[in-house]
Symmetry: C2
Subunit: 351 residues, 2 copies
Amino acid sequence: MPRTFSWTEVNAVSERRRLDVLRAIVEDYVRTREPVGSRILTERHKLGVSPATVRNDMAALEEAGLIAQPHTSAGRVPTDKGYRLFVDQLAEVRPLTVPQKRAIETFLSEAVDLDDVVARAGRLIAQLTGHVAVVQYPSLRRSGLRHLELVPTGDNRVLVVVITDTGRVEQRFLDVPGTLDDWTLGELRARFNAAAAGRRLTELGSAFSSLADAVPEEHRALVTAVAEVVTAALSEESEERILLTGQANLARSGMGFEQGLRPVLEALEEQVVLLGLLTEMTDEAGVAVSIGHENRVAGLSETSVVTAGYGSSDGDNVAILSSIGPTRMDYPGTIAAVRAVARYLSRVLPG
Amino acid sequence: MPRTFSWTEVNAVSERRRLDVLRAIVEDYVRTREPVGSRILTERHKLGVSPATVRNDMAALEEAGLIAQPHTSAGRVPTDKGYRLFVDQLAEVRPLTVPQKRAIETFLSEAVDLDDVVARAGRLIAQLTGHVAVVQYPSLRRSGLRHLELVPTGDNRVLVVVITDTGRVEQRFLDVPGTLDDWTLGELRARFNAAAAGRRLTELGSAFSSLADAVPEEHRALVTAVAEVVTAALSEESEERILLTGQANLARSGMGFEQGLRPVLEALEEQVVLLGLLTEMTDEAGVAVSIGHENRVAGLSETSVVTAGYGSSDGDNVAILSSIGPTRMDYPGTIAAVRAVARYLSRVLPG
DNA sequence: GATTGGCACTCGGTCGGTGAGAGTGCTGGA
DNA sequence: TCCAGCACTCTCACCGACCGAGTGCCAATC
């Protein structure tokens, strides 16, 4: 056999064992956090071969870029590519236990409002996976307008409150020209609600413009201003908010980071970038995993991100939730937890 | 002079110099993060005396519990008590620069809604102080009811949305018995608003009970349920929410923590405990500082907390904002930043 | 041809010792 | 009251040696 290794040259039984070795390496390394050598591997897993044979397999795996050794004469460690193969082909799904599922269900259903649902989902993910949890607040897409409230807040400002029929509430400050007495404001509020309540976002434009025509000259500017604010608030453009929790978990497992956790924490605080990453990687349905350098975000090259969409049962996701931890993570467990929480979240959420 | 030191035994000039030495130690240690010795002290500060004299003063300061040495033949480090004295008597206020103030003002005034104001305040604190920022969302105290909305969310659930006249919005899920048609819901909504709009929290009880009497038998249970939810949501009891940001700053300066940052991060995630600490320490007016072990919270014994109330100009605070960093922090700078942000926040906020 | 035992080799981590440096406390004198 | 000098202590960085884990290769075996 030539020195350069190629998967096509080995027979089926050899290839199977090599993948077994890879799986064993991943599992052991995840558990012990230490490079794993050939001897220990044969002791802890029933591979049915001697350390020497395992060494040969390891050499092949290393040649293929699936494992690496931190330095000569240390054990092997999976590479990003190795984790990828493990996740795609080797990992066995490990569903949550019934008590766990029940705990998720009850904990989520005890939520007192929408923000609380998100907060609880975050805490669940953080606790179940032992990593950082990121939850995007449900987006406003495809919702209609339920009620529009104008609240004066003194000094020429009005607070515009928008309630959608999915129960989402958005608020926006609005500077108004000149003063505005309560009566006029009440009148405008009534008109707005008459014109817009029940309409979908897409229909709001025309509803508002016809309202602007029907309103006395001196309030026309205000009406268009409110209309702008409302459509802006409801448009998908409006920057989405995310919730971060479980950073303390990083400190626990995070001693293993080469670069320390500073870059990781910093990357997590770049909410826009982070949200972009999550959105980009999240699949249509199911759970998506991004490993190590697959994350294009600078500080996350030593972490893996597990995301799932949630929010609707018909596969058209409203928002994302994810778990971020070291590449050396328990993938089956993390995937199961993220999937389960996403599923229950979709069930609990209105709409 | 006897070996045991007592402040009353020294004359005025000596005492003054000793405090100068303490100030110099605090300032140097904050800057360099290294224990400071007598020689360096005389080199970097114009104390006008020799290292030997400084050593005597140091011995006295140590006797008084204001400084300590990590080990024999290392320089001195301020104790919590030393920082306390520094903050109370020695620190000179260092107001922010005009550009800084202007930056705060414009950054806050660009906020698009209430949540955004809080988020921006947090980012400001985190950036200006270089520590972790904690901002409590404005509380509901002393506000009246502006509007009450009932949104059906399918499967026997109603979302109750409460808008106060300070612009705060609270939402609560409510399980309703049986089904509820849209018309009835609309009717109830109108009645609720007629009965409760404009009322203060304290007046709501009677308003709701008389409403319950005036409503047909079959909806009485629903009305009382809604009334309960609303008063619960508005009562101060309702757990307050806080925003945390800038944890990455901990990793930067945090290498100095004896115990590592895990306990700190964990303490920060105990939101209830954290909020209790902040509430307890926050003074009526102005900025409060809690140093090291003065924080009764376990994980925060190596950190100092600087808080200020914000939200109203008449000294009756609505909520709290604070900066949490290592005890070895720049107290004058941190205090100035917290105070400034709190002040502008009070100005920007409605109410 | 795959597998295995044996063996030499490499390299990181640990341990003990050592020297330099920093800082202190103390003492005696101005 | 201050200060210069001195002996002492303790940490840290460095060095060398050693140990053990793990590897790669080779020849023998199934």
